[in-house]
């Protein structure tokens, strides 16, 4: 209970601080804030074991943090520093931490589902007990490559959980204008169980994910979770300046009324909650200090790591 709260609070405050670093210019290129969707990352990752793996998206900071990556190294990555998770070579949309089974955030919508499926299949064929979780948005439901991955995963009973974060929009495109039929019906058509989950409540997500992971570990193949959520902030920080009008202020305030941090926070005593909040702030203070104090990569090494073994 407290752990889930710590995770959603950590993600929320990380993102709020990251937005400030975008404004101040410490983070170049902007970010896709995860604010509002924290319960999904928290619930999904809480159900994973140490040998499990995940793939993430352009809106991936929450997934990476919930899996336990060091916030200082994630922040350093966003700032393009040598101490970053990817040594400053990946940035916001490519954060990876292979030591934790984070096989990378992916900037191509719909691409990672098939990568996660391959990784889970390979782990099983090596006799490992690995389950893969792969995050993607509602927008990815229209990418053929992802639908192909559903088929492969269901056909070969691959231990993968497809986590669709339906936040109502693909950038400015509403789900209703983009998806014929229903999201879960598409998944069921491939013969896998599909559930719609309250994506604002980390405990609900965790419960659904526990079932999905157990099923995968038992060799019964993939599960699809549609986590219904709402993106509280911009699609990307560029939107803070661009002022796109695709959703009304009423809609935004209704959407924000179910806040995962408040939902989970209400389950703690005020004192416990305050203690976690303070812990998160000091963790993030320290993270900022480390990240800001870290070296920038040497331009002479701009193409380091292009090929395997190339330091």
């Amino acid at each position: 209970m407290t752990d889930l709260y710590r995770t959603v609070r950590l993600i929320r405050r990380f993102e709020e601080r990251a937005i400030e670093f975008v404004r101040s210019g410490e983070i170049v290129g902007g970010i896709h804030p995860y604010i509002g969707q924290e319960a999904i990352a928290a619930g999904v990752c809480a159900a994973l074991g140490p040998d499990d793996v995940l793939t993430s998206t352009h809106r991936g900071h929450g997934h990476v943090l919930a899996r336990g990556a060091d916030p200082a190294r994630l922040l350093a990555e966003l700032m393009g520093r040598e101490t970053g998770l990817n040594k400053g070579r990946g940035g916001s949309m490519h954060a990876a931490d292979f030591a934790l089974g984070i096989l990378g955030a992916n900037a191509i919508v719909g691409a990672a589902g098939s990568i996660a499926t391959g990784a889970a299949w390979a782990a099983r064929s090596q006799g490992r007990d690995t389950v893969a979780a792969t995050f993607f948005g509602d927008g990815a439901m229209n990418e053929g490559m992802l639908l192909e991955a559903f088929n492969l995963a269901a056909l070969w009973q691959v231990p993968v959980v497809f986590v669709c974060e339906n936040n109502g929009y693909a950038t400015t495109m509403p789900v209703a204008s983009a998806i014929a039929g229903s999201i879960t019906a598409r998944a069921r058509a491939f013969g896998m169980p599909a559930f719609t989950v309250d994506g604002q409540d980390p405990e609900k997500v965790l419960e659904a994910m526990n079932t999905a992971v157990a099923r995968a570990r038992a060799g019964r193949g993939p599960t699809f979770l549609e986590c219904v959520t709402y993106r509280f902030d911009a699609h990307h920080t560029f939107e803070h300046r661009a002022r796109l009008s695709y959703r009304s202020t009423e809609e935004i305030s209704t959407g924000r009324s179910r806040c995962p941090v408040e939902i989970q926070g209400a389950r703690l005593t005020a004192a416990d909650r305050a203690a976690v909040d303070a812990e998160v702030e000091s963790l993030l203070d320290a993270a900022a200090e480390v990240a800001l104090g870290s070296a920038h990569p040497d331009p002479a090494a701009a193409l380091a790591y292009l090929y395997a073994g190339g330091a």
Binding site: N86, L103, S114, G118, Q126, A149, L152, Y305
Partner: protein
């Protein structure tokens, strides 16, 4: 000595690597039944988990291989048609190739992409006849185009053992080539190492894949007229054996490239460029290529008309020898 065909060499390389390394597995369309013959007998020897017959889902299974590679496997994908590489260019150029750098060296992606029957298959028309090796070289994906059975064996083995993605083009014009050899001499061949397929003194002909055999035939013909043509086969398109090309052209002082790429930004263009940067030439270099933006037309005469041919090569060699 026993004869080995190019196709059989590919098959042998796959079988040997599957045998040697449990991390190697094959995937692709109709590979269980071995529709292209490249995987003949392998399903029976290694079973369904190592010879994985896939549905027609090129984009997903190409990324699937990347995921499997990230988890420690060495997948080898067989593609049925060279033009399918356009469909999975994203998955190779934008995913598999980029993982190492983007993750700061946290992972490797040892996937091999094999295209048996690349280039024109004669009569298969516009969407089955491409030869896009220059595209992969352009984005920095390791790319080989073996010309002989021994090279097909050796380069495929090396590609599979390499820790990066490697594309292996097996030109349809070379699949039938047979070679007398002692199977004991089959061995891995390093990437980026060209080969002098025939020594000569008057002109260097750089040729790749099936065109090496055309270049050799032309060199034979010209020898009868007192012209000594050297044929240099780079074997690997990327990384290119620049030193090997420069060494040969440095001796002959003349360069002709015969290349089954489209002309603009093609492989021949790159050879001309590196030679221009590093060699003193006795005559301007020339190239025989497919035309700009070529779409291979169906009718046989048209198909042949847009592919580099021996007559063009003879004409161009003569022109280079006259230019001085």
């Amino acid at each position: 000595m026993p004869k080995l065909s190019y196709l059989k060499a590919l098959n042998r390389a796959l079988g040997d690597e599957l045998e040697r390394d449990p991390a190697v597995f094959l995937l692709g369309e109709d590979i269980r039944a071995a529709a292209s013959n490249v995987t003949a007998g392998l399903f029976d020897r290694f079973g369904a988990d190592r010879v994985l017959d896939t549905p027609l889902s090129e984009q997903a299974f190409t990324n699937f291989a990347t995921g499997a590679a990230l988890a420690g496997m060495r997948p080898v994908i067989e593609f049925q048609i060279p033009s399918l590489l356009f469909l999975v260019f994203e998955q190779i150029a934008n995913q598999a190739h980029k993982f190492s750098l983007m993750t700061g060296g946290q992972c490797k992606v040892p996937v091999t992409y094999v295209v048996p029957g690349s280039g024109s298959r004669t009569g298969w028309a516009g969407q089955h006849s491409d030869h896009p090796y220059a595209l992969f070289a352009h984005v920095g994906v390791k790319t080989v185009v073996p010309s002989t059975p021994a090279d097909a064996y050796g380069l495929l083995v090396t590609a599979i053992r390499d820790d990066d993605p490697v594309v292996v083009f097996a030109p349809s014009g070379a699949l039938g080539v047979r070679e007398d050899l002692d199977f004991g001499t089959l061995a891995p061949i390093p990437l980026g190492e060209g080969r002098i397929a025939r020594s000569g003194t008057d002109v260097t002909v750089v040729a790749l894949g099936h065109l090496v055999h055309d270049a050799l035939a032309v060199a034979d013909e010209l020898a009868g007229r007192g012209i000594s043509a050297e044929v240099f086969d780079p074997r690997t398109v990327y990384p290119l054996d620049v030193d090997g090309v420069v060494e040969s052209v440095g001796r002959t002082g003349r360069l002709v490239v015969v290349d089954d790429s489209n002309r603009t930004s093609g492989f021949a263009a790159e050879i001309l460029a590196v030679v221009a940067e590093r060699c003193d030439l006795a005559a301007p270099p020339r190239r025989v290529t497919r035309p700009d933006g070529a779409v291979l037309p169906f009718a046989l005469a048209l198909d042949r008309a847009v592919q580099p041919g021996r007559e063009q090569l003879v004409a161009v060699i003569n022109a280079v020898l006259e230019d001085r």
